[in-house]
């Protein structure tokens, strides 16, 4: 076993283990950065495969994306600064079934498909070839994806900003109670004489 094989097994182990821990941790921030660790290991595996651009690009794209993801999750959730522990799993049974099915399908493809025996030629220039592909035949696909992502980001910023299009976003909003039907958590108690809202007591 060469050191490249060894590095592959170690990195693959890190990727799978940290990917699993994403769903076992109880914090949005830790989940984001465990996912980042998983992606970094995958990026290093891509470097081992000779994808010098895609591997390194994965590092910086995932670093920015996971940081932004953690930030937006904290901004959207009623969880001050992301410090309160919370369950990171929704619909666990459906997710588990989907995960197992997807894993079996991918594993079956990897094991059963008939891949062509074609090692990378020595003179190959992966960076140049990728650039030609991105700005050549596949330009429409990638540009559409890029514009869609940009529109999504702008939408998220508009939705999460306090100074929204229709005035301050928290005006008239009511934080959920600590127990079902309870008093709003963290909100100052309003006396009935000054408050304009009808409170269901």
């Amino acid at each position: 076993m060469s050191w490249i094989d060894l590095a592959f097994y170690v990195l693959a182990g890190i990727a799978v283990y940290s990917g699993w821990r994403v769903f076992r941790t109880d914090s949005m921030v830790r989940a984001s950065f465990l996912l980042l660790l998983s992606f970094l290991a995958v990026g290093a595996v891509m470097l081992l495969l000779g994808a010098v651009y895609l591997g390194v690009a994965l590092f910086f794209m995932m670093a920015v994306e996971m940081m932004v993801m953690a930030l937006f999750m904290v901004m959207f959730m009623m969880n001050p600064a992301g410090l309160n522990p919370m369950n990171m799993v929704h619909q666990p049974r459906l997710a588990a079934v989907a995960g197992v099915v997807a894993f079996l399908a991918l594993a079956a493809t990897a094991l059963l498909a008939d891949f062509p025996e074609r090692p990378v030629p020595t003179g190959a220039e992966p960076v140049r070839a990728l650039g030609t592909e991105l700005l050549g035949d596949s330009m429409l696909v990638f540009e559409s994806a890029g514009v869609t992502l940009l529109a999504t980001m702008i939408g998220v910023v508009v939705l999460s900003a306090r100074s929204g299009r229709f005035g301050p976003s928290d005006e008239g909003s009511r934080p959920p109670g600590l127990e079902p039907g309870g008093e709003p958590a963290g909100a100052p108690h309003e006396s009935p004489s000054t408050g304009g809202h009808a409170h269901p007591h």
Partner: protein, 305 residues
């Protein structure tokens, strides 16, 4: 064995020696600006480091101990990663990577994550505020840096640092793209949490991400910050000042001289630039610096056509 050992020693020794140089430079510049009162205590930076080293460590209630401990080490590792792809001469490059500039972009992005984690680790309000502040600043300056670096890669028609240096044989990028280095220096201040962009560790947050750390932990953080400045100076020298190119002297000496020049500039800027609040910096970055970076990229693209 030597082909692994020698680059490792060169990179680590440069980071360590460079950090000591930055500490002395900063001390000297502060002394000159404030009058010569502190010039007598020449060894003050070293004695301050020794004092931090000897002071006991402390902890907080329910810290994220692993991430808190890893953050300074990862910051230092990122500085080493960035410095490793910078060529020292035509035939001595610690790590040859055809996408060295993209790797430096990754170092900048991951540094933001690491600085945030240093604020997240202690599980305390002031460090966390410092961490979130740096995220806002970091997400703003990373974009500026990206456009400036694409501008550098355009005339070289390559993402490798040796090609970028070779493209400056006739004329440095400093002259060819006059907006590049000034914008990139601001990125460097942010990357090292330095001077006016010291939002994460700011005094108005009682030390921000370092508010709860003491002793060797704090020394490690200070070392990692200066080491990141040293790595940045090597990248800036290679991207805008022709790297190891130069007459008479050997390549590594030229690189070191240019790194020293960039470090002096950074330290000077760190002491004389006006400090702005984080909110105003984010506005400045998106409304002024980013459009300037667009102009820089357009300029570089039109020249390269």
């Amino acid at each position: 064995m030597t082909e692994i050992l020698l680059p490792t020693i060169v990179v680590l020794a440069t980071l360590l020696a460079g950090s000591v140089v930055v500490a002395f430079l900063d001390h000297a510049v502060a002394g000159i600006i404030a009058g010569s009162s502190s010039r007598g205590r020449l060894l003050a930076p070293l004695s301050r480091a020794a004092m931090l080293w000897l002071r006991p460590d402390s902890t907080t209630e329910h810290p994220d101990a692993l991430l808190w401990r890893l953050a300074p080490a990862a910051y230092l590792a990122l500085a080493a990663l960035g410095l490793a792809v910078v060529p020292w001469s035509a035939d001595f490059v610690p790590v040859t990577l055809p996408t060295g500039i993209v790797l430096w972009g990754a170092v900048e992005a991951l540094a933001t994550v690491v600085i945030f984690l240093n604020g997240w680790g202690p599980n305390a309000p002031l460090p966390l505020l410092g961490g979130y502040r740096h995220v806002a600043a970091g997400l703003s300056y990373i974009l500026v840096s990206m456009f400036v670096l694409i501008g550098v890669a355009l005339p070289a028609e390559s993402l490798a640092f040796d090609a970028v240096i070779a493209s400056q044989q006739g004329l440095w990028n400093l002259v060819r793209q006059p907006l590049g280095l000034p914008l990139f220096l601001i990125v460097g201040l942010g990357l090292g949490v330095w001077g006016p962009l010291r939002f994460a560790d700011a005094d108005d947050l009682a030390g921000g991400t370092t508010a709860e750390s003491s002793g060797p932990r704090r020394l490690a953080w200070a070392l990692a910050r200066t080491a990141m400045l040293v790595a940045f100076s090597a990248v800036a020298a290679s991207a805008f000042l022709g790297g190891w190119l130069g007459p008479w002297l050997p390549g590594p000496v030229w690189l070191l001289l240019k790194m020293l020049l960039v470090l002096t500039l950074l330290v000077l800027l760190g002491r004389v630039l006006a400090r702005v609040s984080p909110e105003r910096f984010v506005g400045l970055a998106w409304l002024v610096l980013l459009p300037l970076a667009f102009i820089d990229l357009l300029w570089a693209g039109l020249l390269a056509l």
